[in-house]
């Protein structure tokens, strides 16, 4: 009886250690951000990849890919640089220059809002393997808005 109890205890302890290891490693792994994510409004999907040591997010799918006024694929019509207003939104890098700071946090990046052509400072936090908090702000983090993004292909634990 005592042997069974000890074995069960050892197994639970081992499982707990495994769980902690995977949780900690995801939090300390900058590449945990890589993948395809969907904002809460479901209007787009963003693929996050890496160039050098920085992380970038490109729009790879749009729920409404065509401009209702023109019938043509949506472009960056609000870009303050007139010469770049024909840039297609599908493929647009709306998340740029994020640097992994540890503890599931990526900072020093910006998020672009094609609705108004504005760039905002941004911080990304990994809530769990399949959930991000994306906070865009002006100046200090207090003046901003947080959106929850979900990973499109769910990562299985273990």
């Amino acid at each position: 009886m005592k042997n069974v109890f000890n074995k069960l205890f050892a197994l639970n302890l081992f499982s707990l250690m495994l769980l902690l290891t995977f949780s900690v490693s995801a939090q300390n792994d900058g590449d945990a951000l890589l993948g395809v994510w969907e904002p809460s409004n479901g209007k787009a999907r963003v693929k996050i990849d890496k160039i050098g040591d920085k992380y970038f997010g490109r729009i790879v799918w749009l729920k409404e890919p065509k401009d209702p006024n023109t019938g043509e694929p949506k472009v960056d019509k609000n870009n303050p640089d007139v010469s770049l207003r024909s840039t297609p939104l599908r493929g647009y890098r709306m998340l740029k220059d994020f640097v992994f700071k540890g503890d599931g946090v990526w900072e020093e990046g910006t998020i672009y809002d094609p609705e108004n052509g504005n760039n905002y400072s941004c911080i990304i936090k990994l809530k769990d393997d399949n959930t991000l908090d994306i906070r865009g702000f002006i100046g200090i983090q207090t003046f901003g808005r947080t959106d929850e993004w979900k990973r499109l292909i769910i990562k299985k634990k273990g």
Partner: protein, 170 residues
């Protein structure tokens, strides 16, 4: 009235003197045969490839000069007709970045010309790229939008980029 006229003439004279004393020179640097490789399988839609580059500006324009600004004057992308027919492209976007500078867009063509193997991008006129070229290295990111999948054949696009450098004597 005579006093105002006198001061106006003096101001005009000083303005001409100052503008003549800070002469700005122009140098054009062309980077050719810059390859962007897209490894198969390639899926239709936006794809991305990067080329890391560096320019020794002191070698190009000599010592003792101050760079005023750098602009991308021309950017063209040539496709290889055997691997990517011109009509397999929808658009191409060009960006520049470096380890200590933000990634910014500097050129686009949308839509591409389906009958041409040479795509001339519209370049941004208001971006000063001196911080990028003055650094140790910088990278160009090419984002073409392919119409069809290419499951087995890798694709290579080749770029030519012309930078205009305005500089003055220190």
């Amino acid at each position: 009235m005579k006093t105002i006229q006198r001061y106006s003439l003096l101001f005009l004279y000083l303005a001409v003197l100052i503008s003549c004393s800070t002469k700005t020179d122009l140098k054009t640097i062309t980077l050719s045969n810059i390859n962007f490789e897209f490894e198969a399988p390639i899926y239709s839609g936006p794809n991305s490839a990067t080329a890391e580059l560096s320019i020794d500006l002191s070698k190009e324009i000599g010592e003792g000069f101050e760079i005023k600004d750098v602009k991308l004057k021309n950017a063209s992308i040539v496709t290889d007709s055997t691997t990517v027919p011109a009509d397999n492209l929808q658009s191409i976007t060009l960006q520049i970045g470096s380890s200590n500078q933000p990634l910014i867009s500097i050129g686009v063509i949308n839509p591409t010309i389906p009958t041409s193997l040479n795509q001339q991008l519209t370049t941004s006129n208001d971006k000063n790229l001196s911080s990028y070229l003055l650094g140790k290295s910088f990278y160009l990111v090419l984002d073409p939008d392919f119409i069809n999948d290419s499951e087995e054949t890798s694709i290579r696009l080749e770029g030519t980029f012309e930078f205009e450098i305005h500089y003055t004597n220190k």
